[in-house]
Symmetry: D2
Subunit: 227 residues, 4 copies
């Protein structure tokens, strides 16, 4: 599998900010993961920040359960929390353990500004708005990592030291989970805005949530390059 | 002034649950305020519960500031908090002071179930949904008291011992504040759902918020009759 | 196993409102489950309301993940959401399916006031306070059902038609989950209030959260008896 | 008046992170306001970002009303929202109007990362924790601007073009409002943690909230220097 299909709403949101999307998914940090040129200390620095990111990202998906309006919405959000807390964080824990960094140390990592800005923006999108505002802010991380994983798995030199990272996101389990999130996003948007969702007065606000979160992803990679 | 105009959205919401609206605004408790037949101990019991109600209602309007998306939305919500905390509660404080009940005692009144259900339902509408979900749940109290105040002021025997209560809600200041809330509701709904808001997929959910809060008002009056 | 141990904090909270605790765990509804005398239509009515209760209870446990401050706190809350959404609700779904009631119908059950009051009170405890306020309001349902399940399993006539219900809460899996919640509660309280938690100025507020939620449980059983 | 007294809790929190506090209140941006050497385009850039900051800061103080537990706590928070929305923002609106920037333009200013990080961190402190977590994150802005205003008013060359800005924060009205916030903070902390609040297990977490928000203030000034 080398192309992803995460649904109609994601496709529309991505089309609404093509420059930011490219800056995020084709960032130098990403290219360095793919060809193995990324310095190791940048990667470890990134992993530690990303671990704390995932803590708050799991909080945001849990807020999704609080804000959901159907049983299916609740179940998909709850499964995503489980996947984050019990699976995705494992890569970080194992990779950091090899560097002598314990999980308690990871949890206590002091967050950098780019990290704080991103996760708290997402959490406040949920506090200020509704389920759609939250999903629009959660989407860039979910689907962007999915796209990056698939592309690098197809392109990357097999000997790159970052092949575990790539495999985590190219993995069928991750891709299936993200497809389920795509189904959730489509059905949640259609349920509230109708089939012709882009003509809803709310669309511009959701697009801006998605664009801002994508921009904050770019800042996160920038941070990764300056340990 | 004997008829109120609180805007298009309120008119539509009220039309969507005429039976509940009548049960609320024509409740025996209300009739007893109007003709003076309501037993005094019922009134005092109601006032104490209503004071605690207003505490949580002010919390809910403050949540409105948290969830607003425009400056005008923020300002109207903030003004309403101020009106509640610094004005409407005064009637309760003065009336209860005459009964030897202090404001600290009022604040510590043990809430009855009908009271808890209503205010926490409104607060959770804001936590679960967006600004519109919150407004739809806040609306019945605001506009219902406005309608009741105007009607009783026009109808009530002048010698009813509840004329202060009636005057509080028939008062031009209260009516103007509620008209401003009506303008807020109309503009907030049009901004998010469009001019043809009743054809939005979200309308049914907002209607249900309004209906439920109206039903909870009926329960509040029922509670008032059984001190 | 016939006595439960859910930790020190729960023991202290329960001791702080013995009358409410007895009214809840020894309620006529409970006795009727144990000896089989509860009318079936009361049980079905209760099951439908309880299903909607569990939806909001799962939302409240998810809010726990949002409010947690340690990884262990997050994991226990997330596991509890999973247990609620994917296991405990199954009893309700299966029992109701036998009555010809689908899960979508269950989800759409119109909530009664006693139900609204309870779940929204818990959710607002989390919105207004911190992790401890939320846990104190969640505790009575968790541990009360655990106690009731164990007691009825030891006492109940084996032929009671409610033996499935009893088995659900006497079940080792449920008991282990509640023991884990007891460990969570103890460690969360000690972490924030210290070992001598009952001398903290916050204790009275937590005790009141627990007492109120217990009182709302009594109201829930009362509702169950009047379908 | 040249020294401020904002209470015991603030004094303790400030003492807990002296380096960050000095970096914030003695920042080059601040010195440039005092001696007039700050480039005008830096100031206008800052004013626009600060306007959006105040929007979210008002949201955070409104969240304070939602989370308050006493009538006095509610009233002080509500008054602060009013002061922000109806007074402090005026300086920004007037100064920007002179530059041909309307209030609607101000409201729509695209937020920079340092700005997003700060306000959303504060809002999430309230979402994750209780009233104290929120206050600890709100405190650095309130009291820091108070200290800066008083110091610059005492030191600054009278001809600095930034004398209006300095006067806004040295103003008796602002200082009284901040003294009231200091009283609120002291009473809120004592109410929940006791007189010996620094020995509470929660103190370290509150200190970290305060330190982080102070650090985010430093980042805000840094942003101001790079328009």
């Amino acid at each position: 599998m080398s192309t992803a299909n995460y649904g109609r709403v994601f496709a529309a949101l991505k089309q609404g900010c093509p420059q930011e999307w490219a800056s995020y998914t084709r960032h130098d940090f990403v290219q360095g993961l793919g060809d193995g040129s990324l310095p190791w200390d940048c990667f470890v620095h990134y992993l530690k920040q990303d671990y704390v990111f995932l803590v708050h990202f799991a909080r945001a998906w849990s807020l999704g359960v609080v804000k959901a309006e159907t049983l299916d919405e609740m179940k998909t959000c709850a499964s995503t929390v489980d996947a984050l807390v019990n699976h995705e964080m494992d890569l970080h824990v194992r990779a950091c353990a090899e560097q002598g960094i314990s999980e308690q140390d990871l949890f206590a990592t002091r967050e950098e500004v780019a990290n704080v800005a991103y996760t708290r923006y997402v959490l406040d999108a949920g506090q200020q708005g509704d389920f759609l505002d939250l999903l629009a802010a959660l989407a860039p991380c979910c689907f962007g990592y999915g796209e990056i994983g698939l592309r690098l798995a197809a392109e990357a030199a097999p000997e790159t030291r970052y092949k575990d990272w790539i495999a985590t996101y190219a993995d069928a389990g991750y891709q299936e989970a993200m497809s389920a999130v795509g189904v959730l996003l489509d059905s949640a948007v259609v349920r509230r805005l109708g089939e012709d969702f882009q003509s809803s007065p709310r669309w511009a606000a959701l697009q801006e949530r998605f664009r801002m979160a994508t921009q904050l992803e770019v800042g996160f990679w920038d941070m990764g390059l300056t340990p």
